[in-house]
Symmetry: C2
Subunit: 423 residues, 2 copies
Amino acid sequence: MMKNIIKSVKGTRDFYPEEMAKRQWLIEKIRETSQLFGYEAYDGPCLETIELYAAKSGEELVKEQAFVFPDRSGELIALRPELTPTLARMVAAQQNALTFPLRWWSFGPFWRYERPQKGRSREFFQWNIDLIGVEGVEADAELIAVAATFFRNLGLRPDQVQILVNNRKLMEAELNRIGISAELRPAVLRLIDRIDKQPAEVWDENVLRLGLLPDQLSSLKALLANKDLWQQSEELQALFKQLEALGVAEFVSYDPKIIRGLDYYTGTVFEAHDMTGEFRAILGGGHYANLVEDVGGKPLPGVGFAMGDVVIMLLLEALGLIPEQKSASKAVLVTVFDEATQAIAMRTAARLRDEGVQVILYPEADKLSKQLKYADRLGARLALFIGPDEVAENTVVIKDLATHQQESVPMQALVERVKNLLA
Amino acid sequence: MMKNIIKSVKGTRDFYPEEMAKRQWLIEKIRETSQLFGYEAYDGPCLETIELYAAKSGEELVKEQAFVFPDRSGELIALRPELTPTLARMVAAQQNALTFPLRWWSFGPFWRYERPQKGRSREFFQWNIDLIGVEGVEADAELIAVAATFFRNLGLRPDQVQILVNNRKLMEAELNRIGISAELRPAVLRLIDRIDKQPAEVWDENVLRLGLLPDQLSSLKALLANKDLWQQSEELQALFKQLEALGVAEFVSYDPKIIRGLDYYTGTVFEAHDMTGEFRAILGGGHYANLVEDVGGKPLPGVGFAMGDVVIMLLLEALGLIPEQKSASKAVLVTVFDEATQAIAMRTAARLRDEGVQVILYPEADKLSKQLKYADRLGARLALFIGPDEVAENTVVIKDLATHQQESVPMQALVERVKNLLA
């Protein structure tokens, strides 16, 4: 009787070569864009102590969403749910040795115990990128330009994706202006952050329940509908001018409803969304006044964003923007005619590899039709044949698997001919 | 009072940009070599159920070394200590859809709860590479050729590193020949695997304690000293011939003491070692008769090896074979003269990035000497200056930070000139 195949863990993904090629393609786009702006790659551990997240992350993230477990010595360890606490720890530990401003990016796995659903998985990958040690809004403009340039490099257009921007200081001032007290403001900001996830009446009720007067609710709603509110903020005025100079303004719009959940943002905040509204936020980030003080460092401002791999790939897939990945399209399959010629097939494979040619050597002297079928299924570009006749004449037959043409070439001309055909 | 900086988890590593660049360099060497032989990248989850490892891994690995914890639903989950069980699960799940032979490779993080020491960390990276669906020794030759080609690509010489080869069937036959029963053989093989980790008398005692006669101990020791034992194995004879044809024989030697700990190896086994004997094994692998039956698939032979990132990097470091990684060596630093010229500095940065030039934009109008010092510390290649004079003349000053020469070029000639200087 056949046993059942053991299952994978819920919310994790298997990356078969086809999916892996797409993930690798995405990483290369991330790397190109990050490097274009002079950012350096770094990485932290996947495991951190629970103390680190207690000091730095929002409560929901650690208590409700992190995978936490005791190690064999009893210490509580978490699988990283986000990278910022690790970044803060690493910067704090080397604060006197590092050259500021720091431009750092990273890509790696993260874990959150969420209900698996469209656009969410429990094990996911995330791009993190931060500019640290700059107080001014120039830093915010640069990170938004990084995001916009990334979208452009993927082939996304401004009518397909927009980076929505707001400013925490502006919102604090505006909430103050309509008479919402400093104590109430964090709760109001959290509600604004969720306004698109609740029916309008429920949201109104929730606002009134916080203690706002009906008058204040109206003012708040007017404020959230005011697309010109940014003109009240010198920072946002400067930011939009700089985004113009950086050539990315077409990808950016103002939205007073953008707040971002994390408590540590203090200035510009932003989120990228697809324009159909079909998907969750693609990426999100903002300006923080102080990255490292909570973990033991000296105050340090900066700006950063994080992008998961799931939503962006769903969007690119929907828009047909992921190019077909063919790993064998530059490969040569070397066939094996019989046992007597196997050694010369091996030597030929080694000779081509020495010259940097990707060679798949058929592992045994099987029927040639089977070997050719295998080459076709892999999508190899060329197949080589060395039978007894070729050995006697010191030649090789090259078959072009795209055009189906074949030719016989002298062994000493093989490398050059193969390279020409692959070029 | 200054708080203490929160510590990282014991046995984990922080990858600051300099270390990360080395890790990235190693990955690229792994990718190049894997692709040269036609292998496709894949990856599995970092989390798997404990059932998977119970079915596939050796007992020591799961019970003593894996990080195991219950998830929020109570299911026992392990952080992967090795990739082979995941590979088996993935292949079994798609066994009817995949094109065999499969050539797959992977690089990613793994976790083992080991005492942190030289050459070991609790969180490490591993290269896994497998050729699946081939019975013959040709598959073994190919994987050994992959390892040898990888060493060659790193600049390692055969007098610095050797791949030591043995064969499980040969050892079974030889143990049988000297009268060691089938039941005793697994225990004897495990002792051979540890012969270099115990003093000779202790090892002898352990062998006798298993129930071997003093005579058999002598025969066993003679056998383990016999470097020509491979001539008793048709598989090893064929293997060495093929390694010759593949051009990698100089990196391979026979060693009757090579066994490998894992129970699922059934034929060729191999380990790579540095010739000074300073470090642990660099990589290890072997031939298995059946990858997927334990997890619910149909029998499938193959061969594979795994290499951790720690030992190979220690060895390369010791031999001075890791090239200096300079991330900014192709970068242009665009300085900001004052607030009035900041927008034109930004436009210039954007224009160069549009042409694929890596640009670090100084974030504010700071003292030029400070901006230049920053460029030097990053190791940038060029610095650009656009002050009021340059704006008036529509020019840019380019300073070569290597030669300290500077020149003024018309704005419209900038891109071409910068590209020439960087080429």
